[in-house]
C-alpha cells in the first residue's frame, strides 16, 4: 500500500518503483474511480505488445477474436480452469519415454 500526498494544486506523485512496476510512462492514462471504499486509481492503458496484437488483426480476425472473447469471458471459472489444465504432464517414471537426449554438439 502506497501513501500519496495531494499537493496544493490537487496533484499526486506516483513513486518511481510503482511507475516501473506498472510499466507507466508519461502520457499514460489512469482512471480515478470513486468507490464505496474510497478512491481507486486504475490503470487503463494498453501495453505495446497487446496493442500491436489488436492493431494487426484484420477486421475478420477481430470479429473472430470478439466471438471467442465473449465465449471465454462468459464461461465459468471452472470451465476456464479446465481449458488451462488440459493435457497436464505426468511426473511418473512411465512417462519418461518422450524425453529426448541433448542434440549432439
Amino acid at each position: 500500500m502506497e501513501k500519496l500526498v495531494v499537493d496544493k494544486d490537487g496533484k499526486i506523485t506516483i513513486p518511481p518503483d510503482v511507475l516501473a512496476k506498472r510499466g507507466l510512462r508519461p502520457g499514460d492514462e489512469l482512471e480515478l474511480v470513486e468507490a464505496a471504499e474510497g478512491l481507486l486509481v486504475y490503470q487503463s492503458g494498453v501495453d505495446e505488445k497487446t496493442a500491436d496484437w489488436w492493431d494487426n488483426l484484420s477486421e475478420e480476425d477481430r470479429g473472430k477474436a470478439q466471438t471467442e472473447a465473449r465465449r471465454y469471458e462468459f464461461s465459468s471459472e471452472n470451465e476456464r480452469d479446465a481449458i488451462w489444465n488440459e493435457a497436464a504432464e505426468s511426473l511418473e517414471m512411465e512417462a519418461e519415454g518422450d524425453e529426448i537426449d541433448l542434440p549432439a554438439k
Binding site: D17, K21, E92, I100
Partner: protein, 176 residues
Amino acid sequence: MTSPPSSVLFDKGVIRRVYERRVRLALGESPTLLQVEAANAYARLSAITTNLYITEQTANILLRRTPSFAAPLLIDLQPLKKGRYLRRWARRLRDFAFSPEDAIVLAYGSFGVNLTVPGVGAEAVVTADLKMAARYQTNFSVIELRFKSMINDLGSGYSNHSLPQVLTTSDVLTKF
C-alpha cells in the same frame, strides 16, 4: 536495473493472464490488475530477451484456442522439449512441497531443450505464482545442493545444466 536474462520460460499462469488481457481488450472491458501486470511483464521481456519459451503443455493449450488469439503468441514463444532426466528432477523438487505442475515447470528451466539453439533450460522462469517463487527462494540453497548432486551422478554430458532463477511478473517490471 540488472541485466535481463537471455532466455526465459513463462509458466502457464502468466500466459493465461496475457491471453485474458487480450480477451478483455477484444471486449472493450477493463483488465484486472494481475492481467495488466502479466501483459506488461510479457511486453517488457519480449523487447529485451532473445529466447521466450513455454512448456509443451502450454503450447498444446494455445494450439487448441482460436488462432486470432493463439497464433501471435505461438510466433513469439517457442515450446521447450522435455530433455532426458527432466521428470526425475521434477520428482526430486516435489520433496520441497512444490505442486506437480510447479515442479515440472521448474524442471523445464534446467532440462528443457530448444532444438534450434545450443544450451539447455532457461536462465529464468517467470511466474505469477508468488508462493511458488517464495518457496523456491527459501529453499534455494538446499535445492542447489540436490541439483549438483544429481548432475554429478549423471556424468560430464550434463555439466552445463543449471538451475534457473525464478522471477515473478512484478520482479520483471521492477528489475528490468
